[in-house]
Subunit: 332 residues, 4 copies
């Protein structure tokens, strides 16, 4: 049985720790949140002990930590956990600063601890099917990947202000997805964006609607479109075009009921938020982490994947600012 | 905490008891199966005690039983359980014999025990949505219900022989669904059927492909089509036509990935069997039983529903034999 | 160039004669309608001469006639046309009376004239695709055909009264479609029906909602559902189930535009009436008649097909009245 | 009756002139093609006289010309036609050179002749529905338009060499579509592209796969993806995202037949080429030209639309070359 401790009992920490409880090979050994109310609520729900990070890192019984705290604490906690010999499951991003993230990677690079950066969408069953079929030649040679990723509603402006911006906070999933599907790195990024949803986002120095184009090392094109608010719900689709056809992963709808009447034909909306849409992905992600700790030879996204996604976000910001295509090599 | 014991640790018993374990208000107190291997396997998996039916009925700690034994034991076990003051969750049918089922209902009619007959499809989220929207006038006045219900593959001939026949074993779900959606009883049945799938089924005196038409008390038409083997998988769809339109519950597909290539456009098949298709329904069904025992004012299918479905199966058999429309009143 | 004359310049006559004009191998030589306004309007539109039936039959220049007059004149006109050596394209039914239709067939059976009974749906491109793929083994051995055929709105009660009833007027298309898809005759019919749409239809002695089940010579099942008013538009779908799968011809929608918003996902309705839905079928039907006259070895529905469909309508009426399955052989 | 002459009897000239013949208010008065075989074939088919351009321009009986000759003759012919007082229907582009196109516009700007530049996709029924619903506020305030436009197969390399390049030859339709849907001009363009389909295209100095992002005057984003070869057929889709939802125009499929079998669910491909996909659009386009000449107050794309699309193609080329976002104002 693998003992796991949770650092950060907010929304995403609640999801991951509940999946620890459901995993038959792992158990939730302890949790910590500086916000005592959060800690008490989740510890009650999951019948779990509370410990400080120091106690967690010092405990011989704890094998791994889930880092679900604010983004600016991730790098520190990764380093402390690894120093204490704990395996790490860390929410994206490694850090909002590319420099700090690189430093962190450098510092943990000699460790034998396993470090997983939690790009949950890689574990979505439909996207996994897509990736496997693309890898198996399902579209011939890939030429263009199109990723549509739109949130149902913009987060509170307070969140926007500390989020690191659209590219680091939201597009980062799509940057990683492009690398996952193409199994190679990107070499250039061009971003166009504006503020269409809420002027307050613009005042906070961010954008809410964006179109990003990337070129991969082998010359494949990637197209991303993002919005903080889709207008009808949660929009998560991917198209992969290749020399022999196209594979599309569509939205998953709430139900299959279709109504036909005089005003038209109406069906259910896509699942309304990441909670429902990626419920299975979160479950599979945590299970993969546990299987990885148990020694199964599976690949999970790691520090390099976290860094590449962060570099792409950095490059997109630069592209938007300078109105030009940015080469990733400029960030070296 | 509601303590539940399982009688019959076969395939369907395994499903229901696993859902007991997942329910936060119930626990699996004991299980029994005359086939010791079955009992040992499931007791091991769910970490549950084994008891004889006599011990179960005698135990003060056990509040309810799940009857998942062969059909010809259902009526006896219902009566014994009720005599012992236990609530009952019983798999369909009450009995293969209409007369025995009526007797059973009579014998338990004075009890305060709650008895639920497990028509799981009533708890399928899509069919629930359908039922609610029909009840809310979503198609105006209902005129015609069409139920398509086809299994992926015929069961072993040994099962067919003791199943009570297609109408009692398989169509019984559709008979109940018609009553659930229309919220009224049927008054007549006409059945056409033949043996298309496997000649051995015919030799066993049964049919494997059937079309049944029913008229409800208020004159609405119901159309059912059944097959023991759909040829492509599991086919479970319902259409409700009314004065102002149509509502359709479609099959649920394995994933949303669509492939476009020179030979056409291909997408995933419907979920392959009742295990996947009705996983959520089984979970919701057991949860509803527990909520019912906890005193929530919800309606679950009971002895009368079990009897009505059985009467429709009986009438369908008579119609097939005599090649005429049979009135339900003939069975009184 | 094949010269064709039209008898009956109403709605359906207008459709067929316009398709004569569009056919590059045929021309509309003359038309007749006892309602002078009808005749004048269509002759003006299509720049066509007016002649009496006697003149048409007597003319050496006219090779074929389109019989689009009321149903009770069809048999007479077929006989007169054939006696005059004209090829015949006749709207269904041959006659409302099975006996008269049989007599007509008998009287024209020795002729070399080609006689086509206009079951337009056989020429619908989607249904043709369906038929070809079924014939090519696309579902393995066919087991069940399900035909859904619902009109958008009931015709005027005056029409209902002279229509010959739902089975002869509307289901007749579905009877023929079943024979077309299965390439064999039906041997028994069972019909259930009621009056759900309009009480005036009941008072006129007809039904408006019906479910018909048929068995083919080789034991295949056919299921038809009809309504005079679908509540949302025109509903024309077919499913063919077989040993290796299912083929479905769906409704054709008005456009491909889909709207996603907070209240759901909505798309276009099916094409609203037979005029749009079967526009291509009517065109292909007339073209097939012309190709047939030009000596191409193609098969078109003839007198026997018209009679078989009429017999099925007769049997359905008998079944409804006597509440039993009727064998076609009873009508011999 | 409006008399129209055709200049250029190639593939696209054949389409437009056949639609002249089908229009009840117009007739094809004459045609010309320097390739005598082309001219003879089409004149035979449409039973039409042959005249030289000089004869056509000099004829008092001819009201309008269809310019369907090679792109580098368009501007000259527009000027000659207008000088002769003929209305003009001209295939895109006005010229491959922006400067020459501007000169042409300048020279015809004082004329009373009507000049239509043939952006046929504006007349596609589905895209018209899309445009009307967007204009009516169907998605609230538009934020992002995504246009997917991929050909089934790359044209011969000889065509590529004289085509003016992907942006002027193919994307030009999408540039115009963006302006049509948004009802405003674009202010900046960023293009990424590469040669994925055929190395010969690269050797010819062109690209075959492209992603273009544009910003409109009011700040809306437009995303275009193009390929010379979709791998499965013809891919023509549009998505319009706005503050209150999304409208999508999907591909039109060859038929509605769906096959379900053990290997999955398969349906028909999209219509295979522009000939089938835009058949209705070509018809409606020509009809709109005729209605326009008859004085109906309808809007058709004109010289300014032709120039704007050409400027966007020019800007896209510049962007690709210089790897930066190009402002349209740079082209003034």
């Amino acid at each position: 049985m693998i003992n796991i401790a949770l650092l950060g009992a907010g929304r995403i920490g609640s999801i991951h720790s509940a999946n620890v409880v459901k995993n038959e090979h792992a158990q939730l050994a302890a949790l910590y949140d500086p916000l005592q109310a959060n800690a008490d609520r989740l510890a009650g729900e999951l019948r779990c002990e509370q410990m400080t990070p120091q106690q967690i890192f010092a405990s011989d019984d704890i094998h791994a930590v889930l880092i679900c705290s604010p983004a600016d604490t991730h790098a520190d906690l990764i380093e402390q956990a690894v120093a204490a010999g704990k395996h790490v499951f860390c929410e994206k991003p490694i850090d909002l600063s590319l420099q700090r993230a690189r430093q962190c990677r450098q510092r943990v690079s000699q460790s034998n601890c396993k470090i997983m950066v939690a790009f949950n969408r890689r574990f979505d069953p439909d996207f996994q099917t897509l990736q496997q079929r693309v890898a198996a030649g399902g579209v011939g040679v890939v030429e263009l990947v199109s990723i549509i990723s739109k949130d149902p509603v913009a987060p509170p402006i307070e969140y926007i202000k500390v989020s690191g911006g659209l590219f680091r906070d939201m597009t980062i999933h799509d940057f990683d997805m492009a690398r996952f599907l193409l199994a190679e790195d990107m070499v250039s990024v061009s971003a166009q964006a504006s503020c269409r949803v809420d002027a307050a986002i613009s005042e906070a120095g961010d954008v809410d609607t964006a179109v990003i184009t990337m070129t991969s090392a082998s010359g494949k094109l990637v197209q991303i479109s993002n919005s903080r608010r889709a207008g009808f719900g949660y929009d998560q689709r991917i198209e992969v075009h290749g020399s022999e056809g196209m594979l599309v992963a569509q939205n998953i709808n709430e139900n299959t009921v279709v109504a036909y009447n005089q005003s038209g034909v109406s069906s259910a909306k896509p699942l309304p938020s990441f909670l429902e849409r990626y419920e299975a992905a979160y479950r599979a992600e945590l299970d993969s982490f546990v299987r990885c700790l148990m020694g199964e030879p599976i690949t999970v996204p790691g520090m390099d994947d976290g860094l590449q996604a962060l570099m792409l976000a950095e490059a997109a910001g630069l592209s938007l600012q300078q109105r030009r295509t940015v080469n990733l090599s400029e960030l070296d």
